[in-house]
Amino acid sequence: MSVIGREELAAMIPHKGTMCLLDQVVRWDQCSIECTSLSHRRTENPLRHDGRIAAVHAIEYGAQAMAVHGALLASEQGRCLRPGYIAALRNIEIACSTIDDIDRPLQVKAWQLMADGGNLVYQFEVKAGRELVASGRVTVVEMEENE
């Protein structure tokens, strides 16, 4: 399986421009996905507030990995993924206060725990090298067509 680059990845999810936070999909299978990103180092990252990026935004990195995984699975089945929104977070662990000062690329992993159509529960983990940045569980609920 070849690495999926930023352009192809960005086309799969509703997030546009610099709000598409992931750079690459390095590996994925039916149950999980692994992405990398250096967007936490970039000055144009829209999640910067007073110049810093709070570590809570690592959850958004996890959720975007989840969205890309959902899109990959859907396109494999010839379907299109309807947009969803984060409905719940659980067991969130955040190991540091900011992420813009992490030199290394972020490794963003997400595992599917449950899928009921576009209603999904995933476990995610964001790491820099061996260091945990954040982990937790995300529930995404898909929008209805008329929403």
């Binding site: 449950m114 009921d116 529960v121 929403e147």
Partner: protein
């Protein structure tokens, strides 16, 4: 999402446990709305019991019925109520109109939405995860959805408790609720000898939601958010496999398919 139903608790004046409710819902006994009685909780110590409100006692009563006596401490919980404890809101609002705003510490303590879950944790010595949610008139369906997803993901038994108590005046002029109703389900990820039915729970879709066939029960269903569970309870009481559509969040339905285990 597939879960197994291992226990049911029901409380409403006239149907004070699952056995009584099942007889009425199966059509073996007429539904007669009874007098409200004070729920006698045995499972709390007197000093904690003294601090409970009617809503808390209702929630704990059905929780205890569904959980039984064994392993209650091991169950994760989901508590669902439409607008929380009106009695507490009323007393606190009244206190705030008085000089010095003498809000009672007990009322303040009980004013959080997860107060019933807290009393249950003390009563059952439960230390597993607990979620308290509200979704107005759709609170039962939202609770069932949350509970099913948790059982499926965490692979552990869970107690779902849905309960609502009518507000006192003058809040009653703003929020119509004419009946007292509580329901609790003990859910498990795998079938066992205790399993009554398997429930296939899905979110989404449209369609006409299920109603009760008997007019008195249909009035009850509409009179309390937790009583929106009645069409599902009817299937269980009649030991009839089938499907119900519950009014769910944002106009979407929650579909529950019932298959019997025994």
């Amino acid at each position: 999402m597939q879960v197994y139903l291992n226990g049911v608790g029901v409380y409403t004046p006239g149907m004070e446990d699952w056995e009584q409710a099942a007889a009425v819902l199966a059509g073996n006994r007429p539904y007669v709305c009874g007098e409200e009685k004070k729920i006698q909780l045995q499972l709390l110590q007197p000093n904690e019991r003294r601090r409970t409100t009617k809503l808390i006692r209702l929630a704990l009563e059905v929780a205890q019925q569904a959980a039984g006596t064994e392993s209650a401490a091991d169950y994760a919980t989901v508590f669902a109520a439409s607008d929380g404890d009106h009695e507490v809101v009323d007393k606190m609002c009244m206190a705030l109109t008085l000089p010095e705003h003498p809000v009672s510490p007990t009322n303040f303590h009980n004013s959080v939405h997860n107060a019933p879950a807290g009393y249950w944790a003390i009563a059952a010595a439960a230390t597993a995860g607990s979620t308290s949610l509200c979704a107005c008139d759709e609170s039962f369906a939202a609770g069932l959805l949350e509970a099913s997803a948790l059982v499926e993901v965490e692979k552990r038994p869970l107690l779902l408790v849905a309960y609502d108590y009518p507000p006192p005046m003058p809040l009653a002029t703003l929020r119509t609720m004419d009946a007292i109703f509580g329901v609790a389900f003990l859910l498990a990820p795998e079938p066992s000898q205790d399993s009554i039915a398997s429930l296939q729970v899905a979110f989404g879709g449209q369609g006409r939601y299920s109603q009760c066939s008997e007019p008195g029960l249909e009035v009850l269903r509409q009179s309390n958010p937790a009583a929106r569970s009645l069409p599902l309870l009817e299937l269980l009481a009649r030991r009839q496999p089938g499907e119900v559509l519950l009014p769910g969040v944002q106009q979407r339905r929650v579909r529950v398919e019932v298959s019997l285990c025994r």
